[in-house]
Symmetry: C2
Subunit: 201 residues, 2 copies
């Protein structure tokens, strides 16, 4: 706000809310008002949930996931198959794959992708720890579930090189038409890939 | 998430974030991850800002604004002209008018609009306290800055009736073309109102 119209506590709340992804300056004001109106139902519980999370959430030292336990729930889950590892760029990708829920395996979070322009090299990602996990010998397949972007593919190639000396199968996600997607809206690259990888009915 | 993939603290944070206006279930997950990653810079400060606001913010017993002081900063501001009062539906409208910053006066927040279908009658709004403020005799003009909706206009008419016995000028906001707006995108009602209220150059 250009003009101070409320106490500093409210303005600070608005300023911090505006930094939350998905909220801008305008929606931060709307959110702050809503929170203040729903003090008992939302503002107080959300404030304490944030404090709770800040105190208890940590990064899993094995896979890079975030959880309140280290190693995380996924790494210690005895029902997960241990011979396959899915490599993702970010925790959000791990969550997305878990929502899909089609494979009951463990993960390795790189914490980003190789991006020389942004100064992100191999040492900035959790690649050494990935090589270390593979070197233990239990893992037989590494699925590179990185984004289908130039940087994601560069990262995939780099990891493939690093794992060349190990007896491990390295795979990547299939390219193709999204389920429910309409051909008319797809780019040519995806359509060409979907045609090349066509399957028999 | 259909499947539990993280500790209850993280899931609780996501569930509460999803109730913030402007965030849905998907963006709440993204926001939670971002907050966890920016623990020192955002999660902890935002959590304590929320606790601070919950403890200190109250509703102004004079005008219905939210502030850490009661009466609020606007009601107690000695530089504000006291003979004009702007009536708004909600605190967000008060903030919007303050951002416009064109009038240095005080406000009265109704806390909603008359809406028989939703069961909101005159007793659910701060109308009695508005009449009480006008009855004190200091106020010479009441600007009804309610929304230009059917319910807003109904509310304006009701308030006009309630204030009929007092020596006070009652006005409303002008209708017209928004500044920077293109005629092509405006509805007929606004265009007709803008034509009727045309001014000389």
């Amino acid at each position: 706000m250009s003009k101070r119209i409320a106490g500093p506590e409210i303005e600070r709340l608005i300023q911090l809310l505006a930094k939350v992804p998905g909220l801008g300056p305008r929606s931060a004001r709307r959110a702050a008002l809503h929170l203040i109106k729903k003090k008992e139902a939302l503002l107080i519980p959300l404030g304490s949930a944030m404090q709770d999370a800040a105190e208890k959430v940590r990064v899993c030292s094995t896979c890079g996931n975030v959880d309140t336990a280290d190693p995380c729930m996924i790494c210690t889950d005895p029902r997960r198959e241990r011979s396959t590892l899915i490599v993702v760029e970010d925790v959000s990708d791990l969550w997305a794959l878990e929502r899909a829920g089609s494979m009951n395996v463990r993960y390795h979070v790189l914490g980003g992708r190789l991006s020389p322009l942004d100064g992100i090299g191999p040492d900035d990602l959790n690649i050494a720890s990935l090589v270390g996990r593979v070197a233990e010998g239990e893992i037989k397949e590494v699925i590179l579930a990185v984004n289908a972007t130039v940087e994601g593919q560069t990262t995939a190639h780099y990891i493939t090189d690093q794992l060349a000396g190990f007896d491990v199968r390295i795979t990547r996600l299939a390219h193709g038409v999204p389920v429910g997607g309409e051909l008319d809206y797809l780019d040519e690259g995806t359509l060409a890939a979907a045609l090349r990888a066509r399957t028999s009915l």
